[in-house]
Amino acid sequence: MARLTSMQDLAVLRDEIKAKKDNRAKEVAICTGTGCLGLGAAKVFTTFQAEIESRGLQGDIRVKETGCPGFCQRGTIVVVSPPGVYYLGVQPSDVGEIIDQTLLSDRLVDRLLYTDPQTGQKAIREEEIPFYRYQKRLLIKNNIKIDPKNIYDYIAQGGYQALVRVLSGMTPQQVIDEIKRSGLRGRGGGGFPTGQKWQSTRDAADPIKYVIVNCDEGDPGAFMDRALMEGNPHSVLEGLIIGAYAVGAHSGFIYVRMEYPLAVENARHALHQARELGLLGENILGSGFDFDASVHRGAGAFVSGESTALMNALEGKVGEPRPKYLHTSECGVWNRPSLLNNVETWANVPLIINCGSDWFSSRGTERSKGTKIFSLVGKVNNTGLVEVPMGMSLADIIYKIGGGIPEGKKLKGVQTGGPSGGIIPARHLETPVDFEELTRLGSMMGSGSIIVIDEDTCAVDLARYFVDFLCDESCGKCLPCREGLKRMREILDGIVSGRGEESDLQLLREIASLMKDASLCALGRTAVNPVLSTMTYFPEEYAAHIMEKRCPSLSCKALVSYCIQPELCVGCKLCLKNCPQGAIAEEGDICVIDQSRCSRCGICFDLCPPKARAVKKASRGSKQA
């Protein structure tokens, strides 16, 4: 790679890449994001490569690995272009057929296309699939077009054009004004106005400043930052360089949690390639502006995603939060002014520069502008990443894009905002999703996870789950969070095991109000949201657990029992072979559970073949059991 020394060089390079690209007639894009990898994408990719090679087709067909296009539920995703045939659920055994039919003879492999569950109609291209049709994909649309390890792919899609625009004709203050006008707000959880943050970092007196990408995406259920960092790392890097120019920083950090090894790898690779091309380093594109960045791996601590804790971690210290007497924009890493933004926030920057703040702010609601990527997961038919304008209703997201709830179950609610968020009941589904509305309902936007829960999920147990999660992740520095969480866990453990008392609810409220006021950082202050929101919206579930010692969702282990219905048992012995307690015995042709040895793990319930469904779950002590 030759170093580019002027902005003109980049334009020439882009033309060259585009001209060369047309040589090969066909292209196969295979998603090898972590989601598809978990469904066997690596093998699909190697099978394609081997087949293409053995048939001597390398000169005509390019096989490329790409990032995540979002529809993880139906991975492995393979797109054949032109014309852009969208194959879902591809297995290695399908590869030969795709080559024969689609690549060599322009025919479709019907069974790999999306089929509408209602009409039975097949969808060929991305935009015909309902999951994509109702989205407005600005940030993740390029993921399937780009090999994240190839900077040329990004440049061919218009990459680094925003950087050229900034370096060639905008003053730092003009850049900040543009971001301010766009109304962009931080995508990591807080929703703080991005432009304002940039301004205070720029205005800080210290001449040495830092810019930071926060890719410590710890919220369970959220993975948009992973998808962007893995799938389109240069879009984040381009935003970062622009931010550095705007605030006057010359070095930066990309902080990636170690649970995302592929994101670490791709971020490092992106930095390396950008450096070789002269998009990082001294005198970037001949502009006179110097900037470089490095990747820092997180070491596994949820609290390190908090901005001040992350800065401690960058300094090689324990990732505990600091009190915020001074804003990090004045006193951050090494006590220097530091501008920290979330991955998705940074990725929005090149878009705003390229298309203008007016264009950006024309989408969204009055106070929440632009699009937001949500991870739609849990009990919903189409799980994956969805990017929609701010303000779309939860109902539209779940039913139009998500395709509703599987197995005809009833929707109970949605959990948003991770462990700092709350659970919103089904009756509030018409709520438009933006920062203000979610907070008003006692939850929050957080990083954008939407976890759909159905009637089988117990609201009390879910609250207990989050408290347990946070107990594990609280750094222990301040007492309200450390002790408050432990006591709440004890109480909730008691309730879900049938030892709850009426006074518990009052006690939970008292602890919650104290933690809200007195915790050092947002982790402790918002940790009470899952508990308070479930107490508000699902009081009848708490009452059933405490007064009747009954779990209405039949989910809490201590309050249910399993039995095998003799008339339905087919005698396959699958449950008997897999019961970890050895609590199942044969009685004639059928199996029977010995209740005294049963640990109620539910493995028999899961394994019982669907055609039999002989294992029955019931409230403990009830007559059916």
Binding site: G38, F223, M258, G316, L385, I451, D606
Partner: protein, 155 residues
């Protein structure tokens, strides 16, 4: 410490020479190479870098990625993120624990397996998720766990 391990430690310390705030990155590399962080390594590191033992120990004991005791040859993790949780991750973990005869966070006596619960791996759309020796398995249940563990043990 064995000579080979000492050599690895040397290489890692040299790699980060002159960098500010290198401690976490260095310990992560050490964890990757040795699969745990022995006491002797902490002492040696303190001597060579001037960072007090107490501070190194504090960092190494704070972060989940670092282990102060030896881990098994095979690493198995079950994701307990919310999306996996509502789709039955607890049952997957229960089954894995009973199959290996250890609880999450423990290592089998023959040092063959270490089992961990992790708080979200970010592949929420395909949960429950289990990772065995760096390979991700989506939509895993008790029978997947059985199959995977059998296969690893046979290799």
């Amino acid at each position: 410490m064995e000579a080979a391990d000492r050599k690895k430690l040397d290489e890692i310390i040299n790699k980060y020479r002159g960098e500010e705030g290198f401690l976490i990155q260095l310990l992560l590399d050490l964890q990757n190479e040795l699969h745990w962080i022995p006491k002797e390594a902490i002492k040696e590191l303190s001597l060579r870098t001037g960072i007090p033992v107490s501070r190194i120990f504090r960092v190494a004991s704070f972060y989940k990625a670092m282990s102060l005791s030896p881990v098994g040859r095979h690493k198995v993790s079950v994701c307990m993120g919310t999306a996996c949780q509502v789709r039955g991750a607890q049952r997957l973990l229960d089954a894995t624990e009973s199959r290996l005869g250890i609880k999450a966070g423990q290592t089998t006596r023959d040092l063959n397996f270490t089992l961990n619960r992790v708080n979200c791996l970010g592949c929420c759309a395909i949960g429950p998720v289990m990772v065995a020796d760096d390979t991700y398995h989506g939509r895993a249940d008790a029978s997947t766990a059985e199959k995977i563990l059998k296969q690893i043990a046979a290799d």
